[in-house]
Symmetry: C2
């Protein structure tokens, strides 16, 4: 671990990345994770370039350490956000929801380290072909938008398919998950749900409480009927209603898209227990305590190291 | 690994169990796995007591080593099968599709080691309460009937919840997966898909070929709309048709049950590429070669040992 490939690539101390959760991963949380020796990520979500620029300026007042920005490629503002990242000389970019090939030449020319989130071998190969420095292989146990493969099956298949470093994401909450990821061939991990309850995370307390109180079977996947829109969230009035509507014969893909509008904000900002969409992973049942980002990073990292040391 | 808890419990040499795949896991395959130092399992599937008794007699002509029988608790013949296992003094029983509590007193009195397959923390606790010696925590990356949790998220949560040994199943095909399972707290693994292509496995060659040629995204889950009947299988004409019917507004749970009748036999016995239901896990993309059961056991075990040794 002392000469970890991901740490060298990103200039960080511990190969732990914080997931770019929409409406949750802001400059404050990201700075706390970067200060703790991991890589903090600001989510650009569906926001415009101004918001992203502000967040980048803010994180630079909070930390001198490397950080990243996650670009949601389906965002209507993706083009302008892509440009602002170059302008602001952001060190690391992660991408979600598609192929970043369109933006790669510009980002690479600007010296940005790009790590696309991938859900299949084909996506990983595409990322490698267009110059990604690493890929984040994310299994469907993760919260939010998901693919089909699980982390345990995705990571080794991606490792076999590409020559760039692989980061494991989805289903990792502690040292056990991190050590497992290393056995599968990953050189680092990305965690979302665990950092959602970090003390520095400004998400509404109701959201944190829903994760802290969740059990192993508290999440559900909406949107599976219409492919490519599968989304893992906590069971509540919203998600149950969504599923009911989803399977009505007359429901169309457009209806489904409509249904989700504003629900993330209602969860993260308003803490609306009934009408909010509370994205969270299957490891929510293991996340039982608010801690600082540093405590989380240290606990996960030290747990992993001690398991790896004791393994033989 | 030298003093492995599962090996002691079962009297085997290597903590690798072969999954009890219906229409596939017969005495011949199970004997080969047991002879290789793992634990072979005969599937009782939906068969009557006579078939199961025959298979037990047969495996005893092929090996002196421990073996097990998998009881599908929803089988109409479950009661008579449960009795024959006692009569035949089977050393190990694994169970699927429900709680085995009804049969536990009789099995325990007969000295049988019972290991239920579980898909959630609640099922694991139930198994422990009714006297199971261990649980097999199976994630939804597995082939066949599946739950919702993935192996990476299920295994640590089950380990935290029970005091009996935990075996990891679902998504394990090589030493990497086995080593990952150990990091998560498991003391052994169960593999189905990998043993499906063992040379000693008598399944139709077309079935083997479909697994050998599969990629990471070759499986699909049917039956999700009607809960409790989710089933992972390889994408083909049958599974595509199934999914289409499943989401028709007029389709009922009964229609769905009808739809699957006979399809496993068509796959495993007839090798009917279009009309068969080819159950297989998400690691099918990693299973590329027919090998003997001994070669598989040795490769997975040695791969795991070498990763664990190199870990620190």
């Amino acid at each position: 671990m002392r000469d970890n490939e991901l740490c060298r690539l990103l200039g960080i101390e511990k190969p732990i990345i914080q997931g770019g959760m929409a409406w949750i991963a802001d400059a404050k949380l990201a700075a706390a994770v970067s200060e703790a020796g991991g890589l903090g990520i600001i989510s650009a979500m569906n926001a415009g370039a101004d918001y992203v620029a502000d967040q980048i300026d803010k994180i630079r007042t909070l930390t001198d350490k490397p950080f990243g920005v996650n670009v949601m490629l389906m965002s209507p503002h993706a083009d302008e956000v892509a440009r602002i990242l170059v302008h602001k000389k952001v060190p690391v970019v992660t991408t979600g929801a598609g192929s970043p090939s369109k933006y790669m030449p510009e980002w690479l020319a600007a010296g940005i380290t790009v790590m696309p989130v991938v859900a299949s071998v084909a996506m990983a190969k595409n990322a490698e072909r267009c110059g990604a420095a690493a890929v984040i292989a994310e299994g469907q146990e993760s919260g939010g938008h998901i693919g089909e493969l699980t982390t345990l099956t995705l990571v080794p298949q991606v490792c076999d398919a590409v020559n760039i470093p692989v980061v494991a994401a989805g289903g990792i909450a502690d040292g056990r998950g991190m050590a497992a990821a290393f056995m599968l061939g990953a050189v680092g991990v990305q965690m979302g749900t665990r950092f959602l309850v970090a003390k520095e995370c400004g998400v509404h307390q109701t959201y944190k409480d829903m994760v802290l109180k969740a059990s192993d079977i508290s999440t559900v996947v909406t949107g599976r009927r219409f492919q490519a829109s599968s989304c893992r969230c906590i069971k509540n009035k919203f998600s149950r209603g969504f599923l009911k509507t989803e399977y009505l014969p007359e429901t169309t893909a457009e209806d489904i898209a409509e249904l989700g509008v504003g629900a993330l904000r209602l969860a993260a900002v308003e803490g609306d227990r009934d009408r909010g969409c509370f994205l969270a992973g299957q490891i929510s049942g293991m996340v039982n305590r608010e801690m600082t980002a540093r405590e989380i990073v240290d606990e996960v990292y030290n747990g992993c190291i001690s398991l790896l040391k004791g393994a033989n």
